[in-house]
C-alpha cells in the first residue's frame, strides 16, 4: 500500500512528536517487558489491598450482612438477574436473527457454531470491542450514563417477576406498581441519549420515545387494574397463585379486552414493531442510538432484547398464568428412593466416564451418518459430545420437572414467555411501522377508553357478583 512512501521516516517523525522521557523509555521495551511492567505492579497492589480489606473490614462487614438479611437477598437477586440478562439477550438476538430469516425465506446465520448458534455472542463481543467514543459536541456525562440508566431500569424490572414458585427476586406487595415505575424509567435513559448526542435524529428519537411511553403507560396500567381487582393484590406472586388451577382460571379468559390492550401497549412500551418509532430506521436513522457505538450501543441493544423478554414474561405472568401449568399435572413425584450419595466418588466417576464415552460415540455415529455434509472424525465426535450434553441436560431437566415443582414452574414459565417473544419477532417481520400521530391517536382515542370501559365493567361485575 505505501510502496511509494518512505514509511520509516514517517514513523520516526511521528514518534518525534512525543520524544519525551517516558515514551522513549517505553518504546525500547519488548512486549513481554511491557506486559510485565503493567501487570506485575498491578497484581501486587491488588493483592495487598485485598488482604488489607479482608483483615480490616471483613468481620464488621459480615456482622452487618447478618443483621440485614433482606439487603443481602436483594443484592444476590440483583446480581443473579443482572447475570441472567446477558444470556437471555443472546438467546433472543439469535432467535430474532433466525426466525426473521426463516420468515424472509432465508437461512440466517449458520456459520459460527452449529446452525450459527454462537452468532449472537459473536455479534455481542464484536460490538463490545468496537471503538467507543462520544461525538464532538455531545454532553459526555449524560451520553455515558444514558445506556446505563436504560439497561439498569430493564434489569431492575426483572426483580419482581416470578419465574417459578419461590424463584422471585423480591416478592413485593406492590409488585405491579414497582414494575410500571421501573419500566417508565427506561424512557429517561432514551431521553438522555437523545438529548446528549448532539444530533437531531437522536433528539427526535428521544422525544418520540418520551411521548410514546407516556401515552402508553396509561392504558398499560389501567388495563391491569381489572386484574388487580379480581386478584385482590398487586403482588406478582399472588396474581400467579390466583390463576392456579386449570386453563380456565387464567385472567386472559376473564379479562380478554384487558389482555389485548396490555399486549398492544406493552409492544409500544418495549419499542417494538409496529411501534418502534424511537429507532425507526427509515425515518430517523437509528433514533436515539444514532451516535452510539461500541459498548454503549451494546447496552442499548441488550436492553431492547431484555425488554422484549420482560414484556413477554409480564404478559405470561399477568394474563396467562405465569408458572402454573395449564392443566392439572401430577408432578412432584417423590424420588427419595434415589440417593445420589450412595454411589460414592468413584461410582460417579465411572458413571460419568461410561455414559460420556459411549454416549459420545453413539451420537457421533448419528452425526457421521446424518450430518448434512462430510463431517471429519473429530468434528463428528465433537458434535456427538454436544448432542450428548444436550440429551443429558434434557434428561436432567426432565428429572427436575418430575421431581421439583420449581423446575416444572420454570419450564412452563419459559415456554409461555418464549411463545410471546416469538410473537413479537413475528410482528417485527410482518408489520410496517405506524406514523407518530397515528400512534398517539390510537393510544388516546382507542386504548384509553377501552381500558376505562374494561375497568368499569370489571368493577361493576365484581360488585354485583359479590353481593
Amino acid at each position: 500500500m505505501s510502496a511509494a512512501t518512505p514509511a520509516g521516516g514517517r514513523i520516526r517523525s511521528a514518534m518525534g512528536l512525543m520524544r519525551s522521557f517516558p515514551a522513549q523509555f517505553w518504546s525500547r521495551l519488548s512486549l513481554q517487558e511491557r506486559l510485565a511492567l503493567i501487570f506485575v505492579p498491578a497484581a501486587i497492589v491488588a493483592g495487598v489491598v485485598t488482604v488489607l480489606a479482608v483483615v480490616l473490614l471483613g468481620p464488621p462487614f459480615l456482622d452487618f450482612l447478618g443483621a440485614n438479611l433482606p439487603l443481602v437477598r436483594f443484592a444476590v437477586a440483583a446480581t443473579a438477574i443482572l447475570l441472567l440478562t446477558v444470556p437471555t439477550a443472546f438467546v433472543l438476538i439469535y432467535l430474532e436473527l433466525k426466525v426473521i430469516a426463516r420468515m424472509n425465506l432465508r437461512i440466517g446465520p449458520n456459520r459460527v457454531g452449529p446452525w450459527g448458534i454462537a452468532m449472537s455472542v459473536i455479534h455481542g463481543f464484536k460490538v463490545l470491542s468496537k471503538e467507543d467514543f462520544a461525538p464532538t459536541g455531545a454532553d459526555i456525562t449524560v451520553f455515558t450514563l444514558a445506556p446505563v440508566v436504560t439497561y439498569m431500569a430493564s434489569v431492575m424490572t426483572l426483580l419482581v417477576i416470578p419465574f417459578a414458585p419461590g424463584l422471585i427476586g423480591q416478592d413485593l406487595n406492590i409488585g405491579l406498581l414497582y414494575f410500571f415505575s421501573m419500566g417508565g424509567l427506561t424512557v429517561v435513559g432514551l431521553l438522555m441519549a437523545g438529548w446528549s448526542s448532539f444530533n437531531k435524529y437522536s433528539l427526535l428519537g428521544g422525544l418520540r420515545s418520551a411521548a410514546q411511553i407516556i401515552s402508553y403507560e396509561i392504558p398499560l396500567t389501567l388495563s391491569v387494574v381489572g386484574v388487580i381487582i379480581l386478584a385482590g393484590t398487586m403482588s406478582m406472586n399472588r396474581i400467579v397463585l390466583a390463576q392456579s388451577g386449570s386453563l380456565l382460571d387464567w385472567f386472559v379468559f376473564k379479562q380478554p379486552l384487558a389482555a389485548l390492550i396490555f399486549f398492544i401497549a406493552a409492544t409500544a412500551e418495549a419499542n417494538r414493531t409496529p411501534f418502534d418509532m424511537t429507532e425507526a430506521d427509515s425515518e430517523i436513522v437509528a433514533g436515539f442510538a444514532t451516535e452510539y457505538s461500541g459498548m454503549r450501543f451494546g447496552f442499548f441493544f441488550f436492553a431492547e432484547y431484555v425488554n422484549v423478554f420482560i414484556v413477554s414474561a409480564l404478559v405470561a405472568t399477568v394474563f396467562f398464568g405465569g408458572w402454573t401449568a395449564p392443566f392439572q399435572w401430577p408432578w412432584a413425584y417423590n424420588l427419595n428412593w434415589f440417593n445420589p450419595w450412595s454411589f460414592g466418588f468413584f461410582g460417579w466417576l465411572a458413571i460419568v466416564l461410561t455414559v460420556g464415552y459411549f454416549g459420545t460415540i453413539f451420537f457421533a455415529v448419528f452425526a457421521r451418518l446424518f450430518g448434512g455434509r462430510e463431517w471429519g472424525l473429530w468434528a463428528s465426535m465433537g458434535l456427538g459430545f454436544l448432542f450428548l450434553l444436550v440429551v443429558v441436560a434434557g434428561l436432567v431437566v426432565l428429572a427436575g420437572f418430575i421431581a421439583f415443582d420449581w423446575v416444572a414452574g420454570l419450564v412452563w414459565f419459559m415456554a409461555k414467555t418464549y411463545a410471546f417473544v416469538i410473537t413479537f419477532v413475528w410482528m417485527r417481520a410482518t408489520l410496517p411501522r405506524v406514523r407518530v400521530d397515528q400512534l398517539m391517536g390510537f393510544a388516546w382515542k382507542w386504548l384509553l377508553p377501552a381500558s376505562l370501559l374494561n375497568l368499569f365493567v370489571t368493577a361493576t361485575a365484581v360488585v354485583l357478583l359479590n353481593r
Partner: protein, 238 residues
C-alpha cells in the same frame, strides 16, 4: 431576481467563437459568463473558484499524522495489538455493512443480502443505518466529486476497527466514467480500500466473495494494528 445586483463586466467585447476543435497544444480561453447571478472573481461568492473544502482530509493529510496509528495509541498500543489476536477472530465473523448505496451496484449489494444469496449466513446481514454501528463501508456505485465529501465524512464517523470494500468498476477506478468531469477516478484517492470487487456491476456472489476475502484479510492482519494507513491508499504520484 438577481441577488448580486451587479452589472455584467466586459461581456459585449468578447466575440462568439465558432465551434471548431482547437488545434492541438493550444490553450483554450476559459469561459467567463457575465451575468448578474454570480461573479467567479468575487471572493465572497462560491469561494472565488478555489478548491472546495468538502474534503477535510487535506489538513489532516498534510500533518502526516494519519499515516501511522502509533501517535494515536501511544503507550497503550500493547492493548489493541494483542487483544486483537483474539478479537479479530470474532470480528471476521461479524462484519456489519453500512446501509449505503451510491448507484447501480447498490442493488446488487442488496441482492446479496436477500433470500437468494443470503449474506446473513456469514453474519454480514444487519445493515446498520448509522455509521457509528457499522464495520464495513461498502462503497457501491459511482463516487462523484460532490459525493466524496459526505462519503469521507461517513468513513470518518465509523468507529475503529473498520474496513471498506470498493464495489464495482466505477468505484474501483472510475470505470466507464473515468473520462467524466465529475467522477472520482477510484475511491482509493480519497479513502483507504481493503477489498476491490470489480465488475459492472459485480454479481452478488462477487460481493459475497469479496466480503469473505475481507474476513480472511482481517484474520491475516492480526497483530498489525498500528501499521494500518487511514488515509488514501493510492500512491502519491497517480
Amino acid at each position: 431576481m438577481a441577488v448580486g445586483g451587479r452589472e455584467p463586466r466586459g461581456s459585449k467585447a468578447a466575440p462568439s467563437r465558432p465551434l471548431a476543435p482547437a488545434p492541438p497544444g493550444e490553450l483554450s480561453v476559459p469561459i467567463a459568463v457575465p451575468n448578474t447571478l454570480w461573479q467567479s472573481s468575487n471572493p465572497l461568492a462560491y469561494d472565488g473558484g478555489r478548491p472546495a473544502e468538502i474534503t477535510h482530509l487535506r489538513e489532516f493529510g498534510l500533518t502526516d499524522a494519519g499515516r501511522n496509528d502509533a501517535a494515536r495509541w501511544g503507550a497503550l498500543q500493547v492493548i489493541p495489538t494483542n487483544a486483537d489476536y483474539i478479537l479479530d477472530l470474532i470480528r471476521a465473523n461479524s462484519l456489519w455493512p453500512l446501509l449505503s448505496g451510491l448507484a447501480c451496484c447498490a442493488f446488487e449489494m442488496m441482492s446479496g443480502a436477500t433470500s437468494k444469496n443470503d449474506m446473513d449466513r456469514w453474519g454480514m446481514f444487519p445493515f446498520r443505518a448509522s455509521p457509528r454501528q457499522a464495520d464495513v463501508l461498502i462503497v457501491a456505485g459511482t463516487l462523484t466529486t460532490k459525493m466524496s465529501g459526505p462519503l469521507i465524512r461517513l468513513w470518518e464517523q465509523m468507529p475503529e476497527p473498520k474496513w471498506s470494500v470498493a464495489l464495482g468498476d466505477c468505484t474501483v477506478s472510475g470505470g466507464r466514467y473515468k473520462r467524466s468531469y465529475s467522477v472520482v477516478q477510484g475511491i482509493d484517492r480519497v479513502m483507504p480500500v481493503d477489498v476491490y470487487v470489480p465488475g459492472c456491476p459485480p454479481r452478488p456472489e462477487g460481493l459475497i466473495y469479496g466480503m469473505l476475502q475481507l474476513g480472511q484479510l482481517v484474520k491475516d492482519r492480526r497483530g498489525h494494528w498500528n501499521e494500518r494507513e487511514i488515509g488514501p491508499t493510492a500512491p502519491d504520484d497517480i
